[in-house]
Amino acid sequence: MTQESTRKQAAPMSEAAFTLLVQGVLDYGIFMLDPQGHIISWNAGAERIKGYRAEDIVGQHFSVFYPPEDQASGKPQWELETAVAEGRLEDEGWRVRKDGSRFWANVVITALWDEKGVLRGFGKVTRDMSERRAAQHALSERRRLFDHLVQAQETERRRIAWDVHDDSIQAMVAVAMRLELLADRVPESYTAELHRLDASVREAIDRLRSLTFRLHPPGIDRHGLIEGLASHLADVVGSSWGMAYTFEHQLDREPSPETAITIFRIAQEALLNVHKHARGSRVDVRVASADGGIVTRVVDDGTGEPMPQDGARDHFGVIEMRERAETAGGWWSMHSRPGTGTTVEFWLPNPRPVPATTPEPAKDAP
């Protein structure tokens, strides 16, 4: 490139060229208002966003872009006054297109003064944020749906657990007690058989009890994730399965109840897999804040043999773990190598509670 052409490029842009540039911008509505708020210029972006051609709109007051409720409350005038007082005003809110439909706009109004300090008007830049807003909405909707799903699932599990406890187990306890009583009363030739019967009923009671424990582990909703996991490790992994374990946790804040339950459920399933398949003697569980969420790792020292995928229940367990994590907006992975054990690792976002959203406008807004 010659020195001559370089100099040409660096030369200040002429006013005409600048006007052309502004007029051609499509992503932003850029236009000017006179000191009273009448539109005095228009660009392609403004036409695209608002639907007016220059000849339709130049000369009109900019309050036509505001919904009637904002017009009634004097918002357009107030915005100009604020821009005069503070030099600039930025606002995000509903605006109205030519056809009456609304869009979510980001608006910046800048007061323009001449060299003598006289107000010459306003520059106004409008961006259509509807898509971004819709995306945010979709995200928080999804979150709400997820929370609802988790709550519904837990409520149902709790209900089943209570029913099993209060009804099925009690009925079987009554049967077992009566069988034992009967065994003491019948001729000796029947005693052995009755004792065997009694033993199977009591074993069924144990199984039902551990089912209810899995369905609704006591403690998780009263004491939170860490305590819930700690008592699961102590009561089930340590006491019942007789497996050595370590538990490390480092959370910068307590997760929402739904996130806590999801982490607990996945960890519970991963631990069950270790118990059933890993043939290991210990398991290490770690829960830590990471990347705006929580990463959980369940590592065993088992054979590292790939988990049998043929059993429907086991396969379902893997699918369930992954689905739970992904529904929560996170990821899940399981990797194992023969001889070094298996690692189940998953990350879930830990969002703060969803804030109340701006109410939607009436459908047939003017």
């Binding site: 209060d166 009566r178 009583l181 009671i205 102590a234």
Partner: protein, 131 residues
């Protein structure tokens, strides 16, 4: 026949508290069949339990943990209105939290529903021995 503790003297009076009618009935039969134990009342809610405990001053109370009125709080109130009674929790729950709550409420023994009758009798006799 089931071996008894061979305890001399009058049988130990027992109050049975469970909100499951079927279980209460069989519990009653099973306990009554023991020569050294005598059922002096059955209750299916907290109010009944307290009334009977106060009136009968039983040696032993078998108390469900998930009991209408709340197992732990009924246990505390029984201890007040019948200080000589020894309470044995009889529960379908074996989690630490439930066990601790009942022990803190002053129960002497915690028997899991599903344990054998013999284990229940043994717990009752152990509790009675502390009197």
């Amino acid at each position: 026949m089931t071996a008894t503790a061979g305890r001399p003297g009058p049988p130990l009076s027992v109050l049975l508290c469970d909100d499951n009618a079927m279980l209460l009935e069989v519990l009653s039969e099973v306990v009554q069949a023991q020569p050294d134990l005598e059922v002096v009342g059955t209750a299916c809610n907290g109010e009944q339990a307290l009334r009977l405990a106060y009136r009968r001053q039983p040696d032993l109370v078998v108390l469900d943990v998930r009991f209408p009125g709340g197992g732990p709080s009924v246990a505390r109130e029984i201890a007040q209105c019948s200080p000589g009674s020894r309470i044995v929790a009889f529960s379908a729950y074996d989690d630490k939290g439930s066990i601790e709550q009942m022990k803190n409420a002053g129960v002497f023994e915690y028997v899991l529903k599903g344990a054998s009758n013999r284990e229940l009798f043994a717990a009752l006799r152990r509790a009675a021995a502390t009197r």
